[in-house]
């Protein structure tokens, strides 16, 4: 939902970043306001996933230039933990498995870490379970998953639902969903999309990173950005997604970079 008077949540200016000396982001500009849903699309290797990891503070990437303001503070000054505690959330493309640590324990640790930052007391297991039960509905998740080890033996769809469950609990100001739609069948995709829609409010913002237009049938973005060669080449509305679906990415690359990949 685009509102002129909304607060700016995220502002990215000319961001450049590299991994092992190899430049990946080559000047990214983006502004995200409260209440908005953005989609970043682009071909493989365009830098979309890198952009999400750089925003969340992955230590393997080095920011070489530009600046990022998140809710008025310099995001690049914060480590991954403090970015999360400040209200940033990244839903992973490949969530990791943690054998022996129950999903419930993991969620409680993360939830209480966030509360502690907000100056609130820890929630005990009893109250926390009650809270989680309510949130399970968002992604139609079986309570049995709470007792299982984090992501261990989960199907692709279950892992993605678990990511959205974490988002539901942590209530981030900015949620970045990295290829959350990849590897999902249509039913799982609908459940995940439905969950995300329920979590979108006028006070938070969502950035969807996706390769395919398919997800955007279920989550309607306010802006669509096309990324290639480590830059956002063009921005449009949902009509752009349909055009991309029909014509692919080549015409955009040709228009902006003068090349056909």
């Amino acid at each position: 939902m685009i509102r002129e008077d909304s607060n700016i949540i995220l502002s990215v200016h000319n961001l450049t970043a590299e991994i092992e000396g190899r430049p990946i982001l080559k000047g990214v500009n983006l502004e995200v306001k409260a209440g908005e849903i953005h989609a970043i699309m682009g071909p493989n290797g365009s830098g979309k996933s890198t952009f999400s990891k750089v925003l969340a503070g992955h230590p393997d990437y080095t920011v070489t230039g530009g600046h990022v303001t998140f809710q008025g503070t310099d995001l690049l000054e914060l480590d991954a933990v403090n970015r999360a505690l400040a209200g940033m959330f990244l839903a992973f493309q490949y969530p990791i498995e943690i054998p022996g640590v129950s999903n419930l324990d993991f969620l409680q640790v993360a939830y209480n870490a966030r509360r502690s930052r907000q100056g609130l007391d820890d929630v005990d297991l009893f109250d926390f379970e009650e809270l989680v039960q309510q949130k399970l509905d968002v992604v139609k998740m079986d309570p049995a998953f709470l007792d299982r080890s984090v992501n261990e033996g989960f199907s692709g769809g279950e892992k993605k639902r678990n990511e959205i469950l974490q988002m539901a609990l942590l209530e981030p100001t900015l949620a970045i969903l990295d290829e959350t739609d990849s590897g999902l069948d249509i039913d799982a995709l609908k459940i995940v999309a439905n969950g995300v829609n329920q979590l979108a409010t006028p006070d938070n913002a969502i950035v969807l990173i996706t390769h395919y237009q398919r997800l955007l049938n279920y989550i309607e973005p306010d802006y669509i950005h096309v990324m290639a060669e480590g830059q956002i080449l063009t921005t449009g509305d949902k009509e752009l997604a349909l055009e991309l679906e029909e014509r692919g990415y080549d015409w955009i690359l040709e228009k902006h970079l003068g090349v056909v990949s």
Binding site: G57, D79, A80, V109, A110
Partner: protein, 445 residues
């Protein structure tokens, strides 16, 4: 007058002197041990044999292949005294280790202490010290000190010097559901002491037993534990054995488990190594009948300058046996873990199915692991696999947890626990498993 001067090459002198020192050290240890006249002729004979064998043996050096990575020089610098008197121990000292719903046997500095133990007389299960066990189990001499294998200096030393032994005997077809928990407690003394805990377990045909051995310290002190546990499983017996070594971080621990398995018996060894400055675990499993099943789980967690060495061997002599070995090490700081896993499958042992896997997580650039599988396979129709991996904490894993607001220390703890989990989950007693889990979380805090 002529003086004859003979010279010996320098290298030989050094080697000889080392040999002499290590032999002399061993002799002093044996001599310092005041030999009490044994009430049993059989015990006298056993100890005499051990003493005779010790004359041929020495404390090993890193020149011995089996001790290449484990240098005992620091042990040789200390003259350990035997424990002369029973030390007063309050029940509170035992309380942190006690497990609910179990038979508790407390051994303090190698001596069985009935007043601290908690044993219900159960039909089919005998628990006692050596003196009481001899009249009750007159055949125990067929087992005590009679295991297969080459003479090992520390086992012989234990046999020569032990003053008491715990005897556990499970009668034919008896299933003992209550776990037996043996706590070996070391207390501090004015000078460093050496103790020789000894345990004999006989599980008759078709019987079942859950055993926990736990080595712990009442205080942080310098001592040496040289322990031997012998287990005999008759046909179709099942023994689940957990061994927890959480000795004082100043101490030395040399322990041996030796198991004989008759036909279709099932044995599980889950050994958790957390304590001691220097520890060595020698575990030997002899499959003497067909269709034996052996599960060997190990978890070593080290920090500071600790060294822990596990040398295991699974030796088959009959067909259709199977074994699964999983050994995991978590090594931090400048600690050093050693693993040598030997599996011997001679021609007679066709259709053996043996799998071995060792995985190590190194938490610091100066942490070290030396892991070596050693498969000696002669039989041609067998399935034997082995694998070894060494890894560090993955950035992606840490990042996942940190991106959920979980700080680096907590994230590391969770990932270390996740790594150790598949061994810890093999500990069959829930309260003990929970306690060990908590310990693994604080080990690297």
């Amino acid at each position: 007058m002529t003086i004859q001067v003979s010279t010996v090459p320098e290298t030989a002198t050094v080697a000889d002197r080392l040999r002499v020192d290590r032999t002399a050290y061993l002799n002093r240890l044996v001599q310092r041990h005041s030999s009490v006249v044994s009430p049993f002729l059989e015990l006298e004979a056993l100890k005499n044999t051990a003493n005779t064998r010790l004359l041929e043996l020495a404390i090993p050096s890193t020149r011995d292949e089996a001790w290449r990575f484990t240098d005992l020089s620091s042990l040789l610098q200390i003259e350990f005294e035997p424990v002369s008197e029973a030390k007063r121990v309050e029940p509170e000292a035992i309380a942190p280790f006690a497990l609910p719903d179990s038979y508790q046997i407390v051994v303090v500095n190698g001596i069985y202490r009935p007043e601290l133990s908690r044993i219900d007389r159960t039909e089919g299960l005998w628990i006692g010290n050596l003196a009481h066990s001899v009249p009750a189990q007159p055949t125990l001499w067929k087992y005590l000190g009679q295991q297969l294998g080459k003479a090992d200096v520390f086992t012989e030393l234990n046999t020569a010097c032990f003053t008491d032994a715990v005897v556990l005997w499970v009668g034919r077809d008896r299933a003992i559901d209550t776990p037996v928990h043996v706590i070996y407690l070391s207390t501090s003394h004015t000078s460093p002491v050496v103790t020789y805990p000894r345990c004999l377990v006989v599980a008759e045909a078709g019987s079942r037993l859950t055993l926990v051995e736990q080595f712990a310290a009442a205080e942080n002190s310098l001592y040496w534990t040289n322990a031997v546990t012998e287990l005999w499983l008759d046909a179709e017996a099942q023994v689940n054995h957990t061994r927890v070594q959480q000795d004082s971080p100043l101490s030395f621990h040399i322990g041996r488990t030796v198991v004989s398995q008759e036909q279709a018996s099932h044995y599980t060894d889950t050994a958790i190594h957390l304590g001691a400055a220097l520890s060595r675990y020698n575990a030997d499993f002899y499959s003497l009948g067909e269709q034996t099943q052996t599960r060997v789980n190990g978890l070593t967690m080290l920090r500071d300058k600790q060294l822990a060495d596990t040398h295991s061997s699974i030796v088959y002599s009959r067909p259709y046996g199977s074994s699964r070995q999983l050994h995991k090490c978590v090594v931090d700081d400048q600690a050093h873990a050693v693993f040598n896993g030997r599996v011997v499958v001679p021609k007679l042992a066709q259709q053996t199915d043996a799998g071995q896997l060792t995985k190590t997580l190194l938490l610091s650039p100066k942490a070290r692991i030396d892991a070596k599988p050693q498969l000696e396979i002669v039989a041609d129709n067998v399935k034997c696999t082995h694998g070894a991996t060494v890894s560090e904490l993955e950035h992606d894993e840490m990042f996942y947890l940190q991106s959920r607001g979980i700080d680096a220390d907590r994230a590391r703890q969770l990932l270390v626990y996740a790594f150790a989990h598949d061994v810890l989950s093999q500990v069959p007693i829930v309260p003990l498993r929970d306690r060990l889990t908590a310990l693994t979380r604080t080990q690297f805090a």
